[in-house]
Symmetry: C3
Subunit: 247 residues, 3 copies
C-alpha cells in the first residue's frame, strides 16, 4: 500500500548521498515510480532542493564541499516545508562524521532520522563499539534511546536491524520479518532512507505509512532471498512488483 | 551493424560523467567491446582526452572542479579532432546547469548533443517545466527545435524519448520502437550518450551510423523487457549480443 | 579456502577507491563476508584507516583531495601495521597518475601492489603503450619485472592477466585458468585488489593465501561464464558460494 502511493504520486526526491550507493538508490527509487535527482554542488544544492518533493541527506562519503551543500539544501527545504530524511551513515565511526551529524541536527529541521543501532548510539552519546558503517556492538535500550532522540530533535526516528523500530517520541512500533541477506547488499539501508523520503513526499499519515513501508521493505527482502548476486536482481524486481500493487 | 563496428574497433572512450551512472556506463561500453576510461581531475583531463578516441562530457553531477576538467578535456579533444558527445543532464533543472551547458556549447566544438526534450528546451531557451533530470512537460516542436540547435551549434543533435530523433540541421530521422521500461533504469540516456561517443570514434558516416545505433538501443530495450531488476541484466546481455552480430 | 578464512574473520576493509567501482567493490567484499567502509575525506581518512583491518588505495579516479587522503590514511595504517594494498589504476595513462603512483610508493610502506602488466611497466619505467586503464601493448618479461618491483619496494606484487603471477621478490608462482569474460566487467581488477586487502587482514601466510585467492577468483570467473549481464550476477553468486566453503 505504502509503495503504491509513491508509485501513483511519483515524487521528485533530491538525494545528496554517497557515491557508493548513488546508482542503487536511483534505481530503487525508479523501481517504485519515484524520480531521483542527485545534485551536490554548492552552487545548485539549494535550488534543486527547493524544486523537489523531498530531500535526502546521507553522509556515507561526506567531504567539506558536500557538507556545505547539505546545509544549503536543508535550509532551502526547511523554508519551503519540504520533508528531509537524514541518514547519518557511520556517525560513530569518526569524529568528522559525528561532528557533521550534530551540525546537521542542530542547524536543520529534520523530519526523519533513519539509522542503524550504532548510529543511534552515536547520536545519543552512548558508548558504543562501531565497525565502520556497520552497526557494531554494545548495550543499548533501542526503544528508549530512539524515543529520546525523537523527542530531542522533534522528529521521527527509524532504527533498522533484525527488527526495525519506528517512533515519533510517543508512539513506538516494531516491525519484524525480512531476511538478513539484505545486509549483504551494500546500500540497503541507504536505499530505505531514500524510499522513506519518497514516502514523506507522498503520504497522509507519516507514522503509519512509514511503518507500512518498513513492512514492504522486509517483504521484498524475504521474497528476494537467493545467493547474493541473484538477490540484488530479485530485490529490485520485488520493489517494482510491490509498488505496482502485487502482494 | 552499428554496435558491431564498435566491437571491431574497440575505441577508447574518455568519460567525464556523473558518479551515479559511471559504473553502468563503463559496463555498457565494455559490453559492446569499447574501452571506457574515467578521469576527471583537472591535472589529467586534457592529457587523457588527447590519448582517447572519443570524449564524453556529461553534467549529471557537475561541480566546479569537473567543469574545469570538462573544458580542459574538450579543448584538448578539439585540438586533435577527437569527437565530443555532450550530454546536458538536467540543463533546465538549475541555473548552474544551464550556465554550464551554455559555457560548454560556446567554448567547445561539440560533435553531438544527446539530450531529452526538456534539456533541448533549456538549450533552445524555450519555456519548459523541468522535473529534476527527467524530461518534464511543456509544448515544443521537437523536430524544429532540434534542427535549430543543430544549426546554431553546427553539430548533430539526438533527442531521445518515446520516439528518438536525430538531425544534422538539414536531414532529420525519427526512430520508433523500444520499450519504455528503459526509463526505469537510471543512466539509460547517459549510457546511450557514451555509446554514441564510441560510435563517433568508429564510424564512417556519423548520421547513418548513429541512427542505426538508436535502432540497436531500442531493440535491446525491447528484447530486455522484464521486471526492472531482471531488465538491467537482460539489457547488458542484449548489448553484448547485438555487438557480436546476433539479431 | 582462502575466501573462507575471510568469511570467518569478517575484516573491516577501508577502501579509498574510485567512484566507478565503489559499489561493486563494496558488494564483492560483502559477498565474501568482509565489511567495506569507504571514506576519502581529508578530515577522516587517517582515523578511519587506524580503526580498520586493512587499507585499499586505488587511484582509478584520483584527484588532489583524494591523494592527500590516501597519504594520510596510508601513514596512519603504517603506524599501526595495518596492511595496505595499492592498485595503481592506469599508472601509465597520464603523468598525473604516474607521479601519484611514485609518490605513494615512496612515502608509504605498501604490503601488496596489485596491477595489470601495463601498470607494472609504468612502475618499472619500461616503455609501454598504455590504453587508458587497460593493459595496453608492449614487450616485457613480466616475471622478471614483477620480481624487480617486489624487491625494490619490499612488497608482494600480483600482476593479473590471462595468467596471474604473484611474487615476493624471491618466490614466484603463476596461476592459470579463469575466463577472459571477467575483463568485460568493470572493476574486476579493482575488486580483486579489495579482496586481497581482506585476505591480508585475515591470513597467516600472505604469499600462499593470496595465491589461493587468485585461484578462487579465477574459479569464480569460470563458473560465472555467461553473457555479460548474467555474468555480473553469477560472479557475485560464485564469490559468496566459494566463501561459504562450496567448491
Amino acid at each position: 500500500m505504502s509503495l503504491q502511493k509513491i508509485n501513483l504520486q511519483k515524487p521528485l526526491v533530491h538525494c545528496i548521498t554517497n557515491y557508493v550507493v548513488a546508482n542503487f538508490t536511483a534505481n530503487g527509487l525508479l523501481a517504485i515510480g519515484a524520480s531521483p535527482v542527485m545534485a551536490d554542488a554548492v552552487k545548485e544544492a539549494a535550488e534543486m532542493a527547493s524544486k523537489s518533493n523531498a530531500l535526502l541527506l546521507n553522509i556515507g562519503t561526506l567531504n567539506e564541499q558536500t557538507i556545505k551543500s547539505m546545509l544549503l539544501a536543508g535550509n532551502s527545504a526547511n523554508v519551503k516545508n519540504i520533508p528531509i530524511v537524514f541518514d547519518p551513515v557511520g556517525a560513530g565511526a569518526t569524529n568528522f562524521r559525528l561532528e557533521t551529524t550534530m551540525e546537521i541536527l542542530q542547524q536543520l529541521k529534520i523530519n526523519l532520522i533513519r539509522c542503524n543501532v550504532g548510529e543511534l548510539a552515536a547520536i545519543a552519546g552512548v558508548t558504543w563499539q562501531a565497525k565502520g558503517v556497520d552497526s557494531g556492538v554494545g548495550e543499548l535500550d533501542v526503544a528508549e534511546t530512539a524515543m529520546h532522540v525523537a523527542n530531542k530533535y522533534n522528529c521521527l526516528v527509524i532504527v533498522t536491524g533484525k527488527q526495525d523500530v519506528i517512533t515519533d517520541g510517543i508512539r513506538i512500533e516494531w516491525i519484524v520479518g525480512g531476511h538478513e541477506k539484505v545486509t549483504k547488499m551494500t546500500g540497503s539501508g541507504c536505499l530505505l532512507s531514500a524510499l522513506c523520503a519518497a514516502e514523506l513526499a507522498s503520504c497522509e499519515n507519516a507514522f503509519e505509512d512509514l511503518a507500512n513501508l518498513l513492512r514492504d521493505y522486509k517483504q521484498a527482502s524475504s521474497n528476494a532471498y537467493s545467493t547474493i548476486g541473484t538477490f540484488h536482481m530479485n530485490f529490485l524486481n520485488q520493489l517494482e512488483y510491490l509498488a505496482e500493487g502485487h502482494q
